[in-house]
């Protein structure tokens, strides 16, 4: 073990140590609570902390283990989740003011799965209002701050998930990703985030941003931790008819395949929605070189027309969000942050035919992507965020606004949102630090339902690098 502070251990180390009774769930939970006591005032990751409830739950997990019952591979592990996963009878704000006192009528399927696996719930985490925003700003609950530099953004919309895992306050957290909202905070906070294939993880009982593009997934400190968590979360759910009935692979058992002989395409799009920063490009190139030294065959690939993919996604998001938010937008428009409300308004004006065509185009986009960019490669490597992590002030659309700020904010999702349109899996892994000391994330993209390949590559990369082991101080 690397450290006396249990909070700095990895999820899989903690879970295994609890299972082997070398430590208790109570000890792990107390370590997280101590860490939260230090970091919460700095980063504002938690919206609600359930200290006593979590300790009681940890005691119950320890008692079960003492009686010979281990619920699963996450037994006794403390986590917290983006405040958009419903737990019956409990407040679930969705990061909004509108739902600040609203209590959920059902429990999200993913929370039921984590409960069944023995996870201890420390509380619920900050997020962009109604999961709409790529930076981590929140005018209602306070901005979430990056643990590496509290003047900088966390990425969003799963801001608290990225910040809490990055600051080692929790061992894992649920996020959600409609245009990059798992991968962006993972990249900005120096952790691992998986947006699995559309249909791999149930969305039932989660606040929707766009039913067609929403993906539920885990943020963790390492690829191994992420694989363990996704294996619990994934699978068919009768409560979400879009989930796949395909069996869930044993992701963790497949991690050690190595990358020798694998074909990995490298894409460094210089002319994307935001210009690629030189130091971000260099970090991703260095990651490709590292994988090459491990035996992977690296080649350059061309990405599809991101403009069509990006704008099709915008059409879907705006139309679906406008439809679901209309009653509140009419009755209490002032209850929304301006940038959250205005981003949805175009949805009232887009013709239904355009929306339907955006949906009809997806199959064509996927076929083209697989036949071109993915042809002959096992995965594609590209940056997650094309520029160094900006400050909260630089990206404050509510206070500052203006075309330059809006352009920078839109640029966050330039390399992530297209993969929501495609529905293919995408994994963000730390690959360096910029000149400001903020993390840089690489993105691995794969074929439908090939999360195991992305984990295998990411795990091999983490075996050769130590970016994931660095901890903010």
């Amino acid at each position: 073990m690397r450290n006396d502070d249990l909070a700095l251990w990895e999820l899989s180390e903690i879970a295994d140590a609890i299972a082997e009774k070398r430590i208790t769930s109570v000890e792990a939970t107390e370590a997280c609570l101590a860490r939260i006591g230090i970091w919460q005032p700095r980063v504002n990751a938690f919206l609600r902390l359930y200290k006593e409830k979590a300790l009681a739950q940890a005691r119950a997990m320890d008692a079960e283990l003492a009686a010979g019952k281990r619920r699963g591979p996450l037994h006794g592990v403390p986590m917290a989740h983006k405040d958009m996963y419903y737990r019956k009878g409990e407040i679930s704000t969705g990061g909004s003011a509108i739902r600040k006192d609203w209590r959920a009528p059902v429990t999200a399927t993913v929370l039921e799965k984590l409960d069944a696996a023995g996870v201890v719930e420390l509380g619920f985490l900050n997020m962009a209002e109604f999961a709409a925003g790529p930076t981590g700003h929140n005018v209602h609950h306070g901005h979430c701050r990056n643990p590496w530099d509290q003047s900088r953004v966390t990425g969003g919309s799963s801001s608290g998930s990225g910040a809490s895992v990055g600051a080692r306050m929790v061992f894992g957290a649920l996020g959600s990703d409609t245009g990059g909202s798992i991968r962006l905070p993972a990249a900005a906070c120096g952790v691992v985030g998986m947006k699995a294939t559309y249909g791999r993880v149930s969305r039932a009982g989660a606040v929707a941003r766009s039913w067609s593009l929403d993906h539920v997934g885990p943020l963790t400190r390492t690829v191994r931790d992420n694989a363990r968590m996704l294996a619990v979360l994934a699978g068919h759910d009768p409560g979400d008819s879009t989930t796949s009935e395909k069996p869930v692979p044993a992701y963790e058992a497949l991690l050690d395949g190595g990358v020798a002989g694998l074909k990995i395409g490298l894409a460094l799009p210089a002319d994307g929605p935001a210009p690629l920063d030189a130091q971000v490009g260099a970090a991703v190139q260095a990651a490709a070189d590292a994988l090459g030294r491990l035996g992977a065959k690296i080649s350059t690939v061309t990405l599809p027309d991101f403009t069509a993919l990006y704008r099709s996604a915008e059409v879907m998001v705006k139309c679906e969000a406008a439809a679901m938010h209309r009653p509140w937008m009419e009755k209490m428009p002032e209850a929304y942050a301006n940038q959250v409300r205005t981003r949805m308004e175009a949805g009232f004006f887009i013709p239904a035919t355009q929306y339907i065509d955006a949906l009809r185009l997806r199959a064509h986009f996927v076929a083209e992507f697989l036949a071109t960019s993915m042809a002959g490669v096992d995965a594609i490597l590209l940056p997650a965020i094309p520029f160094p992590i900006p400050t909260i002030e630089e990206t404050d659309t509510e206070e500052k606004g203006g075309p330059a700020v809006l352009k920078m904010v839109a640029g966050f999702t330039g390399l992530t949102r297209p993969f929501n349109t495609l529905g293919v899996p995408a994994l963000s892994v730390p690959c360096g630090f910029d000149s400001n000391g903020a993390p840089i994330g690489l993105q691995l993209v794969g074929r439908p339902f090939d999360e195991a390949m992305l984990y295998r590559i990411g795990h091999a990369y983490q075996g050769a690098t130590d970016f994931h082991q660095r901890v903010p101080v």
Binding site: A308, V315, F349, R362, H364, V366, A452
Partner: protein
Amino acid sequence: MDEKTKTAAGIAAGLQGLEYDGRRLAEIAAEVEVLNDAVRRAAEARLAFDDDPAAFASIMAKEARS
């Protein structure tokens, strides 16, 4: 007010029962134009009569590698 903004005003007041000022309608009209054009161009190049939104789920299942 240009023609596109007038169209947006007509949709807002006449079809959706929503109220926006002229400046906001002009912004929305410009935003919608960009999005519509992108989808229309992509659709013209790809879509045929039989294209079904559910084909997305089908191709994801068909192309699955696991």
